[in-house]
């Protein structure tokens, strides 16, 4: 046993764990590109996944992209990339172009949605997606399908009434839904301790009659393990799980934020040292799956992908003004 690498013990192939890493690196690269574009005045708004890629990658690989449903939140860039979106789709969204599959440039970036991929369209008011996920899970149960629905949100959002009502509903009806809290320690400027007085968001699960699990969100493999368990349980009819991934938001809340007013640079630097991408890299090196050359190759491919995506998205057309009136109701065009 001691010789089996962690990912294999968890049932992940070498190729899979490398893919996981690639998605994390890709997400980071897309995210960083968006900031550059924002600072260059080319895209008006960015909201970041930086620091939360490991949690999202672990969760994404534990789910089944062929049947499960997502109700993601605005930081889930890495997750939706795993789910089938690409640097191109997300740069199209950042540039607000018509071809953006999430909303055709109607919504801000980070407002994911794609029917083809079973990603339900999300909005800005936080927490509203949580009851939606419960409704999807209810449909799965009613139709006897063995898919699960995954929904994510921040720790600040776990204080919204919709969180409570949704988890309670799922508990009473034992629905196949995974509640995934990406606790990144801040809700804009408000630190965790001024958002909630309990030690862990996961402690709230007890109030809904199902299990709450805390996981190190900087450890993609550990996240994979606990989400996998929750997914298996849900498929077996065992009902929901609330998982809290402890992460850290490395970037400001958004491109409109200046986080120096509410947290020290030291704190951020300290957190950066625990970055889940770096941890995964070290793991892959330690088990002999990655060396400098392979890393460099991967980075180049990613850079090319992001460059191509940027170029494509920048050139792509905006939605025509007259489309403003389309799709308020069905068949109106």
């Amino acid at each position: 046993m001691a010789d089996v690498p962690r990912h294999r013990a968890l049932g992940l192939t070498d190729a899979q764990v490398l893919e996981m890493y690639r998605y994390m690196a890709l997400a980071r690269a897309v995210d960083e590109r968006m900031w550059l574009l924002n600072r260059a005045g080319k895209v008006p708004f960015v909201i970041s996944c930086q620091g939360q890629e490991a949690a999202q990658a672990g969760a994404g690989f534990a789910l089944d992209r062929g049947r499960d449903w997502l109700c993601p939140y605005y930081r889930d860039l890495c997750l939706v990339l795993i789910w089938g979106h690409t640097a191109r789709t997300e740069l199209l969204a950042a540039f607000a172009k018509a071809e953006d599959p999430n909303s055709g440039g109607r919504q801000m970036p980070g407002h994911y949605g794609d029917r083809r991929l079973r990603i339900l369209s999300g909005s800005s008011p936080v927490g509203t997606q949580i009851p939606h996920a419960v409704g999807i899970a209810l449909a799965m149960k009613m139709r006897g399908e063995d898919a699960v629905c995954y929904v994510s949100f921040g720790e600040g959002t776990s204080n919204q009434g919709d969180f409570h009502e949704a988890l309670n509903f799922a508990g009473v009806h034992k629905l196949p839904v995974i509640f995934f809290c990406e606790n990144n320690k801040y809700a804009i400027s408000v630190p965790e301790r001024r958002q909630l007085a309990c030690a862990n968001v996961a402690d709230r699960a007890q109030g809904y009659g199902f299990e709450g699990v805390i996981v190190d969100g900087m450890d993609a493999l550990e996240v994979y393990r606990v989400v996998r368990e929750a997914v298996d349980k849900a498929r077996r009819g065992g009902g929901p799980t609330l998982i809290e991934a402890k992460t850290y938001r490395l970037s400001p809340h958004s491109s409109d934020d200046d986080d120096r007013s509410y947290r020290s640079r030291e704190e951020v630097e300290e957190a950066r040292r625990g970055d889940g991408i770096e941890r995964m890299r070290q793991y892959l090196v330690s088990v002999g799956l990655l060396d400098e050359e392979a890393e460099e190759r991967m980075r180049q491919t990613i850079r090319a992908e992001v460059d191509e995506a940027t170029e494509y998205a920048e050139r792509a057309p905006y939605a025509a003004p007259e489309t403003l009136m389309h799709h308020v109701y069905a068949e109106e065009v």
Binding site: L120, P131, H132, V134, C149, V328, A330
Partner: protein
């Protein structure tokens, strides 16, 4: 043609739609074992089973939010809000989510769902079991709002709402439940959403109204007829989208318009009807556009004196109609 109570028409149409389409299901507070506090869903649990008639926890936002998710996943939820007054905790889910799902996803997703809620007063419901809430939603693009006044429309509009690919708010007036009876066709044809109905033809004045107001206006029109005043009564039936053509036609027909609703007057549906006429049929008018509506107080009191002072009455409507005819 069967003669049914308004509430029976709703119940039967709902049961028939559930039988017709396995995707249709009901959720809400006390809708199962209890059959709803007004008994609209009576017997549905026995007939369609627990999976399709769901007693939810006491959480309106989740009722609507879960319905949105279920509709996205291919089902057709008919969510009951026990009293229209209690729809307010669900406003965020209705306006931010259901109303905008199709638009925000650029037509990728939609919400084929119905929210039913009993509204209106005159049943000793006091401040919080008597309110009319339609005007909070008629302003919102992405929503449809219907308020049937007769058993036939109750049945036909419920069918249309259930078959509509977008979210529909279906408000049923509590006072009509067991006080109004009427013919309902055996066929399962829907009544198209967005189409008003002339409930009485007349040439001197036009009353535009909906819900309970239709019955008051028709009774008042009967009285006025005895005095030789001929009133035209238009039942809006759908409050969003309003039937502009029918409204303008009704306004032009007599040139004298009275708008009647139980909901508060200021920024109520009557304001839009009036504005529509003032924008498109101004020169066909022979009199100022009048509105007779609920007084500007939060809601009606429990004391019978206060409830009566709030509610529209046949007398009050008739008086307003006479005054307009005299103009």
């Amino acid at each position: 043609m069967a003669v049914k109570l308004y509430i029976e028409a709703i119940h039967d149409a709902l049961a028939e739609e559930m039988a017709r389409d396995a995707r249709v299901f009901v959720l809400g507070e006390d809708v199962g074992v209890r059959g709803g506090v007004f008994r609209v869903t009576q017997g549905l649990l026995e007939r369609f089973g627990e999976a399709r008639v769901i007693d939810t926890p006491l959480t309106e936002s989740a009722i609507v939010g879960v319905a949105i998710g279920a509709s996205a996943a291919g089902l057709i939820p008919v969510a009951e809000i026990q009293f229209a007054d209690f729809i307010l905790p669900a406003v965020n889910q209705i306006i931010s989510e259901a109303a905008k799902m199709r638009y925000r996803s650029n037509n990728d997703w939609n919400c084929p769902m119905v929210i039913r809620a009993p509204y209106g007063g005159g049943v000793h419901g006091a401040l919080y079991h008597s309110q009319s809430v339609e005007a909070l939603f008629t302003h919102v693009p992405g929503l449809k709002v219907v308020t049937p006044a007769t058993p036939a429309d109750a049945a036909g509009l419920l069918r249309a709402a259930i078959r509509d690919p977008d979210p529909v708010l279906y408000f049923e007036h509590k006072k009509l439940y067991r006080s109004v009876r009427g013919e309902v066709a055996e066929s399962d044809d829907p009544v198209p959403i967005g189409r008003a109905k002339v409930q009485r033809e007349g040439d001197d004045i036009t009353v535009i109204t909906y819900g309970l107001g239709v019955h008051l206006a028709l009774e008042a029109a009967g009285r006025l007829a005895d005095d030789g005043i001929s009133a035209h009564v238009l039942d809006l039936r759908t409050l969003r989208p309003l039937d502009e053509e029918a409204i303008l036609e009704a306004a032009r027909r007599t040139g004298k318009v009275l708008i009647v609703h139980e909901d508060n007057k200021v920024c109520g549906v009557g304001a839009e009807v009036s504005a529509m006429i003032a924008e498109h049929a101004l020169f066909d008018l022979d009199a100022p556009i009048r509105r007779l509506a609920g007084p500007e107080v939060p809601a009606m009191g429990f004391a019978p004196t206060l409830e009566k002072a709030y509610m529209l009455s046949v007398d009050g409507v008739a008086e307003a109609m006479r005054a307009l005819a005299r103009f």
